[in-house]
Symmetry: none
Subunit: 203 residues, 4 copies
């Protein structure tokens, strides 16, 4: 018999489902997916353990929804800036702004990012979600920049590389604070590198 998972129609139900997702989000962020058990999630969501399985097929299913929210939270701000650029000349000036935005997005979602990222080696589904995320960001930005005439032939590579750098820096910035690194200097290096990658002169 096929397991049925309720698709909540009523407002109260939708809200309850969201509470569970939020509880999952928080707990996965705080202690990781494996250390968070369903009883804890239910408790934090103020629902019974049983009803969790009314809305989700299994624990993994909560993870899926949490992942979707994370993806949304990461992509949205980036696209907003990109779309707001209306002329090629703006690109150079916008780079520091983009750096800050990615930094902020990373900071705000650092914990859940880590928790989800930790699952990629063993969880193909999460892994491919991350890959899709990169695809989406790279291709959309590259397309936009080509549209604006900023980049041409190797746009994908340049954008992808730029995003890798940015993400790597953001992670570094949020987490690893090594004592021997001056993070303002590092940020400036990042800015320069990105500018160069976009084929622009330094501001």
């Amino acid at each position: 018999m096929a397991k049925t998972v309720r698709e909540p129609r009523q407002v109260r139900s939708i809200e309850k489902k969201n509470r569970i997702i939020r509880a999952g989000y928080e707990l996965f962020s705080e202690i990781g997916y494996h250390n968070a058990n369903t009883a804890m999630i239910a408790k934090r969501a103020a629902v019974s353990t049983g009803i969790v399985y009314g809305y989700f097929r299994d624990k993994k299913d909560i993870l899926r929804e949490v992942t979707a929210i994370y993806m949304e939270r990461i992509t949205r701000p980036v696209f907003e800036v990109i779309n707001a650029i209306s002329s090629p000349d703006e690109v150079c000036n916008k780079i520091p702004e983009i750096v800050e935005i990615v930094l902020k997005a990373h900071k705000d979602n650092a914990k859940i990012h880590e928790a989800l990222h930790a699952l990629t080696p063993t969880d193909p589904e999460i892994n491919s979600a991350f890959i899709r995320l990169e695809d989406e960001i790279t291709l959309k930005i590259a397309a936009r920049l080509k549209e604006l005439g900023v980049l041409s032939s190797d746009a994908n590579e340049r954008v992808h590389f730029a995003m890798d750098i940015l993400q790597s820096f953001a992670h570094e910035y949020v987490y690893d604070h090594h004592e021997y690194i001056d993070y303002d200097k590092l940020k400036e290096l990042v800015r320069q590198t990105l500018t160069a990658l976009m084929g622009l002169r330094h501001s």
Copy 2:
């Protein structure tokens, strides 16, 4: 009362301990630390479950040894190239070689890297091992480059950033093969960026 762990002196014992470490290495690589249980490790090492605790305090202790081996495998090749550079002029020419070496080290150890990295959010010990690894690599390379007169004031930042980029690229290269990316082009971008970071003209 203190739990004693055998420090094997005899050849056969050392070999057995190594078999266990290797089995752990493989299994952690393949299915991750949490999915690998002690019975599996023992079986793959062709030993009894009991003797595992003769050589290791607990499961975590196997992880420690596996981590140490990983760290060694990553750092050694990098230091070898760096130490082999004898004049500033060589640096520029060595960059592609270094890229290849890091790429290879990453490729060879990709799985275990992922498995260990997945533990950093929840395991302070592994996390700090990774941080120490970065510290060591950055500081040694920066020191060497300053010695050679290639970099000066912001050497730490430049080297650290360069290693981040390299690692990020290596990860990308090994794992995520996106269809829309031409990885040779990307590699060339990496090379250029690193060269620029080292304050050198493009070759």
Copy 3:
């Protein structure tokens, strides 16, 4: 994060918890605490192994409840007789009755007494429970006898000694049946000794 143990409110739950306690009581009595494992307890209580940990923090926690029941079973009958004495003159006549009651309490709980007592050398919690038990009995009885004017200055010592003798005899009586002992004669000796200890003439 704090491990929660269900405090059963519903009748069925309370009954289930009691079944587990009873199973523990029986098994600890029959084969001792260390030889009784949780699977056996669950099986005898006709519950799953999991639910045991719904009602008890750990195996030790079952022991605690079993101990509490034992303590109650031992103290109650003794206090009942003591409280029933309303005049000094009765004390002497009541002694044989008290002997019988302690004997019966011991007989009824001999096995669990042994099982618990066996833990006192290594288990400080059980050990102090036994000490508290002795304290409680000695002090309550001594207070009552002082109230009745039967004993005065060295009441605590006399009562404590009397209880020791009684307990020792009870143990002997229940367990060790040596062939060369006439237990009726022995019981009479006990009666005489207790009477003398209470400062009374032989009846």
Copy 4:
């Protein structure tokens, strides 16, 4: 094939066997039979784990020998005093001395006594060893006292009871030190009771 346990003939072997017994004695005393494992015993005896099974059939077998030593240590001093009594008149005066001797024997062997006693509910062999101990003591003392003309018909019961009281007091004295008890008073009560039991006038 019948398991063979070496009966050591050579001096070195006998000494080694004794070291194992002594190590067992100490460890059982300190942490109890169940908490002491064979590896610990071997280590403390400075022998290999394997050779333990050259001298003893199993762990239980060490316990047997330890028990025998305990029994000897308890009985010897008591018999010595008893045998030293040459006339009925001495008995009364010797009682305090006997009390002290039993007290000392108990004090010296309290830990091992507890450890062994803890096994009586689950170990029939140890249990019967304790019973035999009581038998031996009671019957020997009773015989001697009858010989001396101190006791007559109910000698066994009186002696047995006396020994119970003495043992109970010794245990109390060594272990339970309740605050509300004046142990000198209690000791005096014991002395009086024993004197009365022996059918003697108070000194």
